[in-house]
């Protein structure tokens, strides 16, 4: 983690601010395995009914499932519905995070 980010995290912790807000980290909310909300994404890399890959500040978020569809796609948030089987972060690195911002 870069020095600047570590400093930001420390300041956020001192001020009592949520880190995801300060750093723009993805916020992921799963409603069972039938729907999911993702905030602070940086775009879609792949979109299909069985696999969705989203770019985030932590790397690529891969969602595997079946009959998946986006019920809402906004600038910073998305909501999908379907049978979600797995959610996985791939290649979480400093460069990936920096590229998406």
């Amino acid at each position: 983690m870069r020095i600047g980010k570590r400093r930001t995290i420390r300041h956020a912790q001192q001020l009592g601010l949520p880190e995801d807000v300060v750093l723009g980290l993805p916020r992921l909310v799963l409603h069972g395995n039938s729907s999911m909300t993702l905030e602070n994404h940086h775009g879609a890399l792949e979109y299909g009914s069985t696999r969705i890959r989203m770019r985030t500040s932590l790397g690529t978020l891969t969602i595997l499932g079946s009959d998946m569809s986006l019920t809402r796609m906004g600038r910073h948030d998305m909501m999908l519905r379907g049978e979600i089987q797995s959610v996985n972060f791939e290649g979480a690195s400093e460069s990936g995070a920096g590229k998406g911002r």
Partner: protein
């Protein structure tokens, strides 16, 4: 345009770019589905659909509009059927105007002032067809109350397409109430006294007395404590049983029309402004009657032109006897109605009896047997006048 959504399908390669471009442009997609690898379907607000069109053109995607909802759909519908929409708007405007006009004027309780009330309304151009929003009911009420001094209370209101005028007539004081000159009270009719209530004067009759018209009921004299007799204006009420009689005659035969079996149809073209027929009224030797009518709308239900079919049937008038009991009942009811009108409908009925007799009833030039009912109605009435 705000307020609608457009559901579309895009076909092409690298459709993820659509999502990312929409994110950059702030276009919010909903219900995004990927039925096939090269096809994506989504919905977007109609105001942002232009961005989708621009993207489809830029990336050479095939854009298909699946469904349009909300105001844009209504706008397209109205644009394609401008005449229908214009007609509907005109209809609504006319219906609104017609619903805001006065089509009926109801005047209640005016009695003898009915003509004057109508005259006041006429002078103020208030007639069927007048736009009701232009009528100041409060001003009209004040005008009626000012002009018609015989009315004690007037109310004017607009109820839908009806203008309602409710009046209550003032009850003028009778002359005997107004006069302070000494005087007596006499019986206005023959009757049997049921009760006497004296406000001033001395009663000359008591309950059960049979009195004749003109007989003294209350004398205008009062005796004081000292024994002196003072002359006063007699006042009081004398309730008595009085009788009213009425007669009604109902013939024992009735005239019925019997069709001869022939008929003739006549077409009449009718519009709201008049009617016309290419055929004259068929002339039959005997009596004729319009037996049946039917309406056939000619040019659609919207145009005010229709055809009326009139069927003329020649008939023969025949005189047939009626059931005697039924005729008696009818004559009795008619006599009762006449007697009640004579007595006044507000007076309590004590008793009534009816006598029937068969008479020769004169109808036109000839005579026919009929039932005469003579009804006597006994009512309670104040006969002190």
């Amino acid at each position: 345009m705000y307020g609608g959504t457009v559901r579309f399908a895009l076909e092409g390669l690298s459709l993820e770019r659509l999502l990312n471009q929409c994110i950059e442009m702030g276009v919010i997609l909903s219900d995004v589905q990927r039925p096939r690898v090269r096809v994506i379907t989504a919905a977007v607000s109609s105001g942002q659909f232009k961005h989708i069109k621009a993207l489809a053109k830029k990336y050479d995607w095939k854009l298909t509009v699946r469904k349009v909802t909300g105001l844009p759909r209504l706008r397209d519908f109205a644009w394609r059927r401008a005449a229908l929409v214009a007609g509907a708007l005109v209809f609504l405007a006319v219906a609104w105007y017609m619903c805001n006009c006065i089509w009926s004027i109801q005047i209640h309780g005016a009695g003898p002032y009915l003509g004057e009330v109508r005259q006041v309304l006429r002078e103020n151009d208030i007639a069927p067809g007048r736009f009701s929003m232009n009528i100041d009911v409060e001003e009209l009420r004040a005008l009626l109350a000012r002009r018609l001094s015989g009315l004690a209370w007037v109310s004017v209101s607009v109820d839908g397409v009806r203008l309602k005028v409710y009046c209550v007539q003032g009850v003028p004081r009778v002359e005997s109430d107004l006069s302070d000159q000494p005087g007596d009270i006499f019986a206005s009719r023959d009757g049997v006294i049921e009760s006497v209530r004296v406000a001033a004067g001395t009663a000359q009759v008591k309950q059960g007395d049979a009195v004749r018209k003109g007989q003294l009921l209350i004398k205008g004299e009062e005796r004081s404590w000292g024994g002196a007799v003072n002359q006063v204006a007699a006042r009081g009420e004398a309730l008595a049983r009085v009788w009213y009689t009425a007669e009604a005659v109902v013939p024992l035969t009735e005239v019925v029309s019997v069709p001869d079996g022939e008929s003739a149809l006549r077409k009449v073209y009718v519009t709201p402004w008049g009617e016309w027929s290419p055929e004259g009224i068929p002339l039959f030797e005997d009596a004729q009657a319009v037996d049946a009518q039917a309406r056939v709308v000619l040019i659609g239900a919207a145009l005010p032109l229709w055809m009326r079919l009139e069927e003329y049937v020649p008939v023969t008038l025949e005189s047939r006897p009626r059931d005697e009991e039924e005729v008696k009942h009818e004559a009795g009811l008619a006599a009762l109605r006449l007697a009640r009108e004579a007595a006044g409908v507000d007076k309590p009925i004590v008793d009534k009896w009816v006598e029937y007799s068969i008479i020769d009833n004169t109808i036109g030039a000839g005579t026919s047997p009929g039932v005469k009912a003579r009804l006597t109605l006994e009512v309670l009435e104040d006969i002190a006048k």
